[in-house]
Amino acid sequence: MSERETGGETAGVAEAPVVLEMRGVTKTFGPVRANDDISITLHRGEILGLLGENGAGKSTLMKILYGLYSPDSGSVFVDGEEVRIRDPKDAVSLGIGMVHQHFTLIPPLTVAENIVLGAEPRKGASLDMEKAIKSTEELCERYGLRVNPRSRVADLSVGEQQRVEILKTLYREARILILDEPTAVLTPQETEDLFSVLDELVSDGLSIILITHKLGELLGVSDEITIIRDGKVVDTVKTAGTSEGDLARLMVGREVLLRVEKEPAKGGGEVRLAAENLVVRSNTGAVAAGGVDLAVCAGEILGIAGVDGNGQMELAEALAGVRPAESGAVYIDGRDVTRLGADARQELGLAYVPEDRGTKGLVQDFTLSENNALKTYDEPPFSKWGWIFPKAMRRSAAENLRAYDVRPANPDARAGSLSGGNQQKAILARELSGDPGVIIAAQPTRGVDVGAIEFIHRQLIKQRAEGKAILLISLELEEVRSLSDRILVLYAGKIVGEVGPDATDEQLGLLMAGRGMEKSA
């Protein structure tokens, strides 16, 4: 530790030396000012939270720090010295490591191979695999990151893959670690594991920049929080003296309803979406959903709770018609649609918000206008007699984007250029605007900021009030509980119980762990 500023060694952590400073960073993409004169400061052994709405510019700032984007102006200081970071190589040699929102791992290679890539231990001409495995094991041990160095990355869970990403940076001796929405894809248990790893890391002297939309998490682990809105720093606060409400207000610029308000369900609606003894296989051929029965009525939200990987994704896909059912049946408004594809089901009034927006929800290289017409391009007003009408597509897109507050609301923007949360809103805009009768929403608020969560929740409640039947699949217990009228718990591909929205954490937790009560209907 530097002994220069030994003025007041009173408050331990807060006085830790500055390891990183970004000063006056500005970055524009065409007309968009993604970063506008942003300055942040990171102290040794601390966790700095970055908070901001979707599209506020957090990922952009971090990509600048990691050398993926070059800033228009501004400077970066590491350990008090000004540095130039032109590419990730520069960043790595300065001890900066980054775990991206989207992983950059190589699925067919092993964990150890992924970790040592580019900095391989050698024995003569060959790669010293034993040493690679040993170094990996040592790092795992030291920071409590559980993962088998010999496993193929393709066989790992998302949480494990993330650990591999962290190990990659540690293997390259990162002292500053950037984590961009690391918890968006994790289960609650995995999130807890991650945070205990982060604790280990900071107590070892690493410094961390953490981006997350989950206010509770930030309050739990960070030391300081910098809030960004529309590319500008709004404020930097000490975590100790703040609250969720304060943060939400700073971030959105107005009061945010952190709880959902909804009318009690009317009840008595007819069944609009139903599954009967539905059996679905996963990509690996294993039975993912083993005989699921469910029925969603008009005017209700049926929630599906469960730990990730218990068949939620496959179930949703089978209901939406993008994955074949092994056996059993699916009904929309009483009609057997088991043999119908996604397109036919959509024409019967089914909307589907897939859990993986990046690959299943949007075509990244298409414009927003094209994406908006993705499911209905073959119907008027978008086309007639085999001709497509781009003007009609753009007009409809512009309307939808404005209605769902997608930023930028530009129909000609490439979908891939939008921030994660805005991509999610663009999907919702497309799915909900067609006045569907049945909505399947898988993880509708993953990676979305609190303001937008509030907005999306309100949309779902509104659809419910209009008599739509909504199936909500979410890993966020809080979300399932606050929106649903009834909750089914999925465990190992089977429904192990049904509870009301007033079920306790303990009840749900037990069911989700597979220790359910007998289902007595």
């Binding site: 790595v92 190589i106 900095a119 060959s126 790669l127």
Partner: protein, 307 residues
């Protein structure tokens, strides 16, 4: 029975001979495709090197000088392919096709320019068979496997060497990674461009060995269009062998066997034309049967562009 055993040795020997150019080209294709660049131009690279090899040997009177010419030509044209696909991000199939067309037209034209007439070139010194003492005395297998030319022995060695390079060296790890997720390679501080240039360059050199063996090992002269689709069969062997050196070599041997059968089968039983179809039919069958299940490198065919 006597007769059958008697013909087995020669059949095996010609299997090896027919398989040799396929193995070279398939292993070449492996380096290129593992780095993420499709090299459909193998056919053209083989043809060009078969020709330049003969030209080199013709002028120098020395087979090794010819080989040097052939390798240089294979490398140069592979680098053109690399330049098109990697630096200029051109479509890899189109660039490969251009190389094939260039090879067909170019060699045809230069035949006339250099040797005065098209068709077949004059005989040049080639790679003679060099029986390996002791090994070549093994009954049945000895003469087939160990009474071959130097290039065949090189081919034997190349199979395990390629396997070792691809699966056991840092270079191989980076190569495989580049063909799967180039972004990951880039963020690991390794240049994707460099890896791909290496991969394509190696494919040029190996395909050149295959081409030179055709014109100076199998024969001792160049004849127009002599590759006869071998570059494509090598690509099929690569897919059939799931982009694995051992698998690809095995598949190449199988295709070589099919060709050997074609040549050695009694002509009067089945029309010759049908027999000549066998290798190609086998290729189609192999592709249909295995293509679905084969796992190609994920980033194959896609140019890599940094944001």
């Amino acid at each position: 029975m006597e007769d059958f055993l008697g013909s087995l040795g020669p059949l095996l020997a010609s299997t090896i001979r027919f398989a040799t150019p396929l193995v070279f080209a398939a292993l070449g294709g492996l380096f290129s495709e593992r780095s993420g660049v499709v090299n459909i131009g193998l056919e053209g690279l083989m043809l060009i090197s078969a020709f330049t090899g003969v030209v080199g040997a013709w002028y120098s009177g020395n087979a090794f000088v010819g080989l040097g010419f052939g390798l240089a030509a294979g490398l140069i044209f592979a680098l053109i392919h690399a330049l098109m696909c990697i630096t200029f991000e051109a479509d890899q199939i189109i660039s490969g096709t251009a190389i094939i067309l260039l090879a067909l037209g170019g060699t045809g034209f230069l035949m006339v320019e250099i040797f005065g007439s098209g068709g077949t070139s004059p005989r040049v010194p080639g790679f003679k068979e060099i029986p390996i003492p002791l090994l070549s005395d093994i009954p049945l297998f000895g003469p087939a496997l160990f009474s071959q030319s130097l290039l065949v022995y090189l081919m034997y060695a190349l199979i395990p060497i390629t396997w070792f390079v691809v699966y056991r060296t840092p270079f191989g790890l980076r190569l495989r990674a580049t063909g799967e997720v180039p972004e990951a390679v880039d963020t690991a501080g390794v240049s994707v461009t460099r890896m791909r240039y290496f991969g394509v360059a190696l494919s040029g050199i190996l395909a050149a060995f295959g081409g030179v063996y055709l014109s100076m090992g199998l024969l001792s002269a160049f004849s127009e269009g002599m590759t006869g689709g071998r570059g494509f069969i090598a690509l099929a062997a690569l897919i059939f062998g799931r982009w694995n050196p051992i698998g690809a070599a095995g598949a190449a041997l199988l295709f070589g066997f099919a060709q050997a059968v074609t040549v050695r089968a009694p002509q009067d039983v089945v029309p010759n034309e049908f027999l000549q179809m066998i290798p190609y039919v086998l290729t189609i069958v192999a592709l249909v049967a295995f293509a679905g299940r084969a796992v190609a490198p994920a980033a194959i065919g896609k140019p890599y562009r940094k944001e």
